[in-house]
């Protein structure tokens, strides 16, 4: 990539907005202007930013077509992992771990909550009503978002994306959402790439517009209202109002922020609308992946959660020649389940597309995949058995040098805790972090095999 422009801008000067009102976007990635001459650090000597993505698809893998037979760097990519060939050196495939936070209480709920948070999920006593559950603690992307924010806050603390709209909504936030600030705050994902684009670029107000100041003034008044109300509330509601206040504070900062000094790409022109009842899964996954790359390039956020198709869910992978949803197929398709297999391959093709786009996006002397940690997982081992043992797990990216490269296949011979994987990811952002998860899911031991 070109290094013609090394103007050595300090990152803070950009954030403070000394770019002449900030309404003109520069035709280069923001960070390039702020790199040192070698392009491997920021001009002030600070490390290049590292990003995190949690990437999810529902209903698991098929062991025979996923699990590599051999360990180490030269592992073979079987049918379901074959799409990863162009980015294989960036991928570590982890097998035979045990999601210890998911210990057989309820299929899918165990799998997604335990794998992505390390906390056993919280079952809501139905007492004759519908079953529902919540995450037992924050999902790993939010733990990492907190760690990043404490060091260098971004415009958006994190971004939640989803592709398939056929998400299971009847069993509580565990199956409906991938990101959770805590048990009572699932983060709503966006399904429409155009809406994501608006979220990234649509909130910037020209400085001469008086509405910006008045909007901040309004939020301050709302903030005062909330604080007065808080005094009257019980403990649980005070926490809920704190979350609301945090949202107000974040919006307030966004209104005061200047547009990012990077190339604003054209609008995606993809709205995730169905044709003849078929979801444009491939097209939306690509549009969302492109937006992730844009958001990282412009440094608008450093944390993304990406729900390809929800846990259980009603997603029909029509491109495999079926009209039945993947979850039903996982229980009902006889034999070796060709359509379930096709769905998983489609998921991995979309995952590989994201990794390739990150790899192709240069940042100084590195690329965005060098500067990312990408955790890919599902909600069970195989859809047909609901097991939380040997769930699929991939850790991709070099994590700014924190992760082993080239990647390996590591098969645990002792069914290590999947939370060990989470702790390894977290330590790429917070080397002092000493634990992840709780109860059965607690880990204090990062996975040495994939550390650099």
């Amino acid at each position: 990539m070109s290094r013609s422009s090394k103007r050595g801008l300090h990152r803070r000067t950009v954030l403070r907005g000394l770019l002449g009102g900030g309404t003109v976007a520069l035709a280069l990635p923001m960070l390039e202007a702020m790199l040192n001459p070698n392009g491997d650090h920021l001009a002030d000597g600070a490390e290049l930013p590292v990003r995190f993505i949690s990437w999810f698809w529902g209903n698991g893998k098929k062991n025979a077509k996923w699990n590599p037979d051999t360990a180490g760097v030269d592992y073979e990519l079987k049918e379901q992992l074959a799409p990863l060939a162009p980015v294989k050196s960036y991928c570590s495939v982890l097998t035979n771990f045990d999601n210890k936070a998911g210990f057989g209480r309820r299929g899918h709920h165990d799998g997604v909550a335990g794998f992505f948070s390390g906390h056993p999920f919280i079952a809501l006593d139905p007492n004759g009503a519908n079953y529902a559950s919540k995450f037992g603690g924050p999902s790993i992307d939010q733990v990492i978002a907190d760690a990043i924010e404490s060091q260098s806050p971004t415009y958006l603390k994190s971004l939640q994306l989803a592709v398939s709209k056929r998400v299971t909504k009847g069993e509580g936030p565990t199956l409906e959402f991938l990101s959770h600030r805590g048990p009572d705050q699932p983060l709503q994902q966006k399904f429409n790439p155009q809406a994501v684009y608006d979220q990234l670029f649509g909130n910037f107000t020209p400085v001469e517009d008086p509405s910006a100041g008045l909007r901040v003034h309004m939020l301050d008044a709302v903030n005062e209202d909330a604080k007065a109300l808080k005094k009257r509330l019980g403990a649980a509601d005070r926490l809920r109002l704190d979350a609301h206040l945090e949202g107000i504070d974040q919006l307030r900062k966004q209104i005061a922020a200047l547009p990012p000094a990077c190339t604003q790409p054209p609008a995606p022109g993809q709205t995730n609308s169905d044709t003849d009842g078929k979801e444009p899964l491939t097209e939306v996954a690509r549009a969302m992946s492109d937006l992730v790359v844009t958001a990282f390039k412009c440094d608008l956020t450093r944390v993304v959660s990406f729900q390809h198709n929800g846990s259980v869910g009603g997603t029909v992978f029509h491109m495999t020649g079926t009209s039945t949803n993947m979850h039903s197929l996982s229980h009902d398709e006889p034999g070796d389940q060709a359509h379930v297999n096709g769905a998983i391959v489609e998921c991995m093709e979309s995952f590989a597309y994201l990794l390739e786009e990150l790899m192709n996006a240069g940042e100084g002397s590195e690329n965005l995949l060098d500067q990312s940690v990408v955790l890919c997982g599902s909600d069970c081992q195989e859809g047909a058995n609901h097991s939380s043992k040997d769930q699929p797990a991939i850790v991709a990216g070099r994590g700014g040098g924190a992760l082993r490269h080239p990647g390996i296949h590591y098969r645990s011979d002792s069914q290590e805790n999947t939370s060990d994987i989470l702790l390894t990811c977290l330590q790429a952002f917070d080397p002092q972090a000493s634990e992840v998860g709780s109860a059965q899911g607690l880990s204090t031991t990062p996975l040495a095999a994939i550390k650099a």
């Binding site: 009503a129 519908n130 699932p186 008045l214 909330a226 509330l233 019980g234 009842g277 398709e333």
Partner: protein, 549 residues
Amino acid sequence: MRIIIGMALMAPFALGLGLGCTGTIGDSGGTEALPPGVPPADFAPPPASMRRLLGRQYHNTIEDLLGSAAAEAASAPGDVSLNGFDSIGSAQLSIGLSQVTAYEGSARAIAAAAVADGSQVQALMDCEPPGPADADCHEAFIRRFGRLAFRRSLTDDELSRFVAIAQAAAEAYESFDSGLEYAIATILQSPNFVYRVELGEADPHADNRRVLTGTEMASRLSYFLLDTTPSEALLDLAEAGGLDDAEGVSAAARDMLDEPEARAAIGAFYGELFRLRDIETLVKDAESFPDFTPELAASMRGETLALIEHLAFDQKTSFVDIFDAPYSFVDPTLADFYGVDYPEGETGFVKVTLPDEQDRTGIMSHAAMLALQAHSDGSSPTLRGKFVRESLLCQSIPAPPNDIETALPADSDFKTKKEKLSQHMEDPSCNGCHRVMDPIGFALEGFDGVGRFRTEENGVTIDTTADGADLGMLDGPSGLGAALAEHPNTVHCIVRNFFRHAVAHVEIEGEEAALEKIDEVFETSGYQLKEMIVALVSNEAFRYVGVER
């Protein structure tokens, strides 16, 4: 496996305990006789939580406060259900940046539309501003609008905060109306508007519970019965003490149930409980069901809501007929789908008798329910049975087992869903639950994945008989309808579902005795829904909240 039946069968109370008689005497020795209207000492509700307005309530509220142009500009962030109820999610879950952003954008769009439209804003103005930044006139508007929006009078601090915004905006834009616009936009972002805060005040008779204040009661009543904010008249009545006892609440509720919004609110409740609101976005495989269109889906939903509205409002009849009514309501589109003649000279939904051979009986043979509880490319006896167990019988279904291979052998060849599921039911770790779900669906297998009548599946004649466990031997839709109408859980479950929605939690033990009083009124009224609802809102379990320990 055991089925968790969410009830003890209705404990019959001594008949003769009349309507509105809430002064139950404590049953154990040594308990003092309580004054009339005071709940027994063992009544112990859970603490209240603030409740975020549901999307539909937000929209209706804006329409009532600021008119239809403003309502068109409104876009509330989505609801998240817990235990099957949006209201429970609204009382437990927190919101963050995404929803705060949505509320801000919506509030600004509403305020701009309301001021541009002007009619409703003018109706709330009692003064003529002498200049763009007239503080007195801003204050007068904010005082009145703020009371309606917060469902209580503003505090002095709140008033001065909002007036300051109005003044700043009026000066920035040199426009009195801009002041109004920004004041409205601020008030609509306040947690006092976004959440219903119903904390109650001390109950002199017990320290483990609090009684809702008049304006809190007005709010709870109005959002439950009408899905919208209390009217100015209801707030006036509440502040004058008109809702301080069960009789006052009953009288107000009876008036409110005569409003057209009550029909819409009960329709919206059933739209949520029965998922009817999802049907227009329901996706069916175009090859399996080429004629399933959003228009047909809307007609299907209309049928079920028409029957519910008919039984709830149009006559003093038993609401239990929803399970076994041998008639239904069709519009021309649905008449065509069902293969019945639509009466000439009529419009909209008309009561008809459906063809004998289809045996359609009660809501479970309505096309909407059958299409919703099905796969995209076919029927699902399991989903239909699960829905009946959970939503009509209030019986929770335990978790399916982990680590059990459920996939079928490669040489499987099943002509019918029943054959296929019977294979699953061979497995002892699965059949405990499937045995109570699937047979209900087998009785409905004469209807395909969109609720169309059929007699065969893949050339095999469909058998609609099945062993329904506690529902007895089932024989087709009319057999299922009769079994549901007779099952003691169904009426109990109607009361529990309304209650969960109304108070935003699943009932707890300390409320059970109070709820049984509602069951009893429902029964003695011959299961008239309005009588049950009046009993519910005047019951202590609706009028009191617990205290956080």
